[in-house]
């Protein structure tokens, strides 16, 4: 028990120290790297709290994908320029705001300490009703059955987000291909990696989605792995992202949510409610939705990383 406590204490101290360090970091690059490490530590915390699903998502989306985006943004700005040179606010106001943040954080911590113990939870209710969803992983049960509408809307949010990124292009560039990823095709080892790794990555992704029905895993984690593989291929110059006007790519983008909505609407007649599943069909239907959503989410995540379109011939200049 004491060793577990020691691990937790070290973890907490590390996270707290890293958070402070990110705020004190002098350069955008440093802060972005710190943020990725922070996400990994946070995932360990989720593992310690026995929330493996959350830990997987945190690693894939929080640390991996967001970190990649931040590093890309830092690379486009002056990566090594000091924040001080950019002219952020003065020392006095920064100190004042930091002080207020600290007071709010302490207040929140105090409130969390007086929350009821043991915490009221829906977990027993979820377990009692899990059989009706046909899946064995309670997280998947909540996401795909009990709170299916939230999952549907969450995947839908990705579309305006992608449109928002695409809208940052200029008018003549519309119809081009996404152009924010670096072109590292001259990098031999990377090319090799991009040829060797994806088959394994795809297997891992399929595994994550498949076991998600019974064990930790699921479409978001699987989609993140798929997206990472795809981006690796794109960066290595072994493939090209589709044009923003590509009908095939758009079809794949909306496939998952469309299947979800379609099955949800059918539920009104077949199972008595919107987003309900007929009991004997629940598991296959959920797996079908998860499979379709995995493809759509992976494509959206990859396209979010790939950025706004640029007309042919434009884009990020190849690095030496």
């Amino acid at each position: 028990m004491t060793s577990a406590l020691a691990v937790d204490a070290v973890l907490a101290l590390l996270i707290f120290g890293l958070a402070l360090w990110i705020n004190a970091a002098r350069t955008a690059y440093g802060a972005a790297l710190g943020f990725m490490a922070y996400g990994l530590l946070l995932a360990l915390v989720w593992v310690r709290l026995a929330a493996v699903d959350v830990a997987l998502t945190e690693v894939a989306l929080g640390a991996g994908l967001t970190g990649f985006l931040l590093l890309g943004a830092a690379a486009r700005l002056a990566p090594d320029a000091s924040f001080d040179a950019v002219g952020v606010s003065g020392k006095g106001s920064r100190f004042l705001i930091a002080l207020l943040c600290a007071v709010v954080a302490v207040g929140l911590a105090a409130v969390v300490l007086v929350l009821p113990d043991p915490a009221p939870t829906l977990a027993p209710l979820v377990h009692a009703n899990l059989a009706r969803t046909g899946v064995g992983n309670p997280v998947t049960g909540v996401l795909m059955a009990h709170r299916a509408v939230d999952t549907l809307l969450e995947t839908l949010v990705l579309i305006p987000a992608l449109i928002g990124i695409w809208s940052l292009s200029s008018d003549p560039d519309w119809g081009g291909r996404p152009g924010s990823l670096p072109d590292l095709s001259s990098n031999g080892p990377l090319t090799l990696l991009a040829q060797v790794l994806p088959p394994f990555g795809i297997l891992v992704a399929i595994h994550l989605v498949w076991v998600g029905a019974e064990d930790p895993g699921g479409k978001f984690q699987g989609a993140a792995v798929l997206a990472a593989m795809w981006v690796l291929v794109l960066v290595a110059g072994l493939g090209r992202a589709p044009r923003v006007t590509s009908q095939a790519s758009r079809l794949l983008l909306v496939l998952g949510p469309l299947v979800f909505v379609g099955i949800g609407i059918a539920g009104v007649w077949l199972a008595g409610a919107f987003l309900a599943y007929p009991e004997e069909w629940a598991k296959p239907l959920i797996l079908a939705i998860e499979a379709a959503l995995t493809l759509s989410v992976a494509l959206v995540l990859g396209l979010l990383l790939a950025g706004p379109p640029v007309a042919d011939g434009g884009g990020v200049e190849p690095r030496p």
Binding site: N129, D150, T245
Partner: protein, 604 residues
């Protein structure tokens, strides 16, 4: 409800399917977003128009079902009942938001057919983005209206924010991108605060369903710290998204470069979505907050917004920014209802008045932004001082601006007048006359800047503007129709507004009592007299372009100039990042501590 004139059997038939009706407004925009991406190109605009017409019909059917049923409609998604599942609910408030967003979005969709149609056969960036984002905003608003679960509502807020932000920068210029980024970052801060509050409530009660939470919170002897902290966090987060002073740093720049159709949606609807959630939290989730002294703080911020926004609008050189600052002020009216809605003092129709302000302002401001867009397009600029001759070129547009202005000022019989009359009534009955004073001052200032703009547009001085591009007749008529809608709200039978209180327990006092005798010639004259004085003052002392007086105008002008620059300085300070961040945190702390002390005083 006077239903004798309406075929009641038909209406009863409409409500027969029951709660599943609520699914229609929820999924229409969702399906639209998905199919719209496949459709793309030139057909996207007409497709969105058809979809929105269907959406308006669906909203009307839901409204009719709620009215004939006389009670809220409920629907359990997936057949799972809360706390495990997620429920949808349509009460009076939901119906009002559903109808308002359908009407205004449809109006904007008609207006935008011309602006956002690809010129050739190929799809363009602006047209795809605009129509898809419009559908996204609509999806977010309908979910906000029907959602009954704090997390579903969070997702709805995200949908709203992520769709609204890129609308700001459709134009693609660097300054609009900066404005969009500013909006995004601040709105996300608001989201985080809202989510923190929702998590605290889940930690305390193990459910996110508003109905179940409200029962448990009301049963407690005193509001526990977790609920008070959650209320403070969520309130401030939503205030940031609603752009209440001093958290309005993103709103004026966002409007400065946004296309007119986007501005209309942003000002008329998007900020109302987050305000609507505030209503849910303060009136449905934790009504005990209204009786705490901290509720006064929201009113004070509202009053500050009215004064600051109107004074800033008065000194804008550009029409678009004048209208934007007018929104800052009109948002202030929404927050006056919190101090006026306490159950211990005075009448309880403030919520109805606030809801009516949501509708009235949505119609009037939608119209005004569209009109401002038409003027800017015809002239190639929107400098107020150089608007001379617009009245001759765009008479319908100017008429729309004038009519919308009547409602913003609050002249009878407009919707704005009803809001003012109801809030004044609540303030007087509760013995808090000073809120009425704020309302009066706000109305006079609004009149002053609208006269300033319309006066310039009507003046015949200056050359006849060469219209580069004549506006579409449909575009002008949409602006006029929205403005007339706002004006005619006041002519609806008072009973119609009792729709707002369907599902409220205990039922609030009928708002019709607030308006008993509100309409008569005497009050019209009493309301118009100060406006006439303002008109004379504007005419006499305004620095009109044609006959600018040489020399100083004496102390009023010096005083006005001093006040103007002081207000401008204050506004500029409030809208820089460090100050806004400071305000955000300070408000969280103030409200949290204020709630805590108030709750303790209530118990002892």
């Amino acid at each position: 409800m006077e239903a004798s004139a309406i075929p009641t059997a038909w209406l009863a038939g409409l409500s027969a399917p029951g709660g599943v009706l609520l699914v229609v407004p929820l999924i229409l925009p969702v399906v639209g977003l998905l199919l719209g991406l496949l459709l793309g190109g030139r057909r996207l605009g007409p497709f969105v128009f058809v979809l929105l017409s269907a959406g308006l019909a669906a909203a009307v059917v839901v409204a009719a079902a709620v009215v004939t049923g006389g009670e809220p409609m409920l629907y359990q998604l997936g057949g799972w009942s809360p706390p495990l599942g997620v429920a949808l609910k349509a009460d009076g408030l939901s119906v009002v938001l559903l109808l308002t967003s359908a009407v205004v979005t449809l109006g904007v969709a008609v207006y935008a057919q011309r602006d956002f149609r690809p010129p050739g056969a190929r799809e363009t960036r602006g047209s795809l983005a605009f129509w898809m984002l419009l559908l996204g905003v609509w999806a977010g608003l309908n979910t906000v209206a029907l959602g009954q679960d704090l997390f579903t509502l969070f997702v709805a807020l995200e949908l709203l924010t992520f769709s609204a932000v890129p609308l700001v920068s459709l134009d693609g210029r660097a300054e609009t991108l900066a404005a969009a980024l500013r909006y995004l970052l601040f709105a996300l801060l608001g989201s985080v605060l809202y989510l923190l509050g929702a998590v605290l409530l889940y930690g305390a009660y193990g459910t996110l369903d508003i109905g179940l939470l409200a029962v448990q919170i009301a049963a407690a002897h005193a509001l526990p710290p977790s609920v008070l902290a959650a209320a403070a966090l969520m309130t401030v987060g939503l205030m940031a998204k609603t752009a209440l002073v001093p958290l309005h740093l993103w709103l004026p720049p966002a409007h400065a470069g946004a296309p007119p159709a986007a501005s209309a949606i942003l000002s008329a609807l998007v900020v109302k979505g987050s305000f609507f959630l505030l209503l849910r939290i303060w009136f449905d989730l934790i009504p005990g907050l209204l009786d705490l002294p901290a509720a006064q703080a929201l009113g004070v911020l509202g009053a500050a917004a009215i004064l600051l926004g109107n004074l800033m609008a008065l000194q804008q050189a550009r029409l678009k920014l004048l209208v934007a600052y007018s929104t800052v002020a009109q948002i202030g009216y929404l927050f006056l209802i919190f101090p006026l809605a306490g159950t211990t003092s005075g009448p309880t129709w403030a919520l109805s008045a606030g809801t009516l302000q949501v509708v009235s302002h949505a119609l009037a401001k939608g119209s005004l932004f569209l009109a401002a867009g038409l003027i800017a397009k015809a002239l190639g600029h929107d400098r107020i001082r150089d608007l001379a001759g617009v009245g001759r070129v765009l008479p319908i547009t100017l008429l729309a601006s004038g009519v919308a202005g009547l409602s913003l000022v609050g002249i009878q019989p407009s919707g704005g007048y009803l809001v003012k009359a109801a809030l004044q009534g609540a303030a007087e009955a509760g013995g808090t006359w000073w809120w009425g004073l704020v309302l009066d001052a706000g109305g006079l200032l609004t009149a002053a800047y609208l006269l300033w703009f319309i006066g310039h547009a009507l003046s015949g001085h200056g050359p006849h503007p060469a219209t580069a591009k004549a506006p579409g007749r449909a575009q002008e008529l949409v602006a006029l129709a929205l403005a007339l809608g706002s004006l005619l709200l006041g002519l609806l039978p008072a009973q119609v507004f009792e729709l707002i209180s369907v599902g409220r327990v205990p039922p609030p006092e009928p708002i019709a009592t607030a308006w008993a005798g509100a309409f008569h010639w005497g009050s019209l004259a009493a309301g118009l007299l100060p406006l006439l004085v303002v008109a004379v003052l504007v005419l006499a002392f305004g620095p009109w372009g044609g006959r600018r007086r040489p020399g100083p105008l004496g102390w009023p002008a010096v005083g006005a100039a001093g006040l103007g620059s002081a207000v401008g300085w204050l506004d500029a300070r409030l809208r820089c990042w460090p100050v806004a961040g400071f305000s955000l945190l300070a408000l969280v702390l103030t409200l949290g501590v204020g709630f805590a002390f108030g709750a303790r005083a209530c118990v002892t």
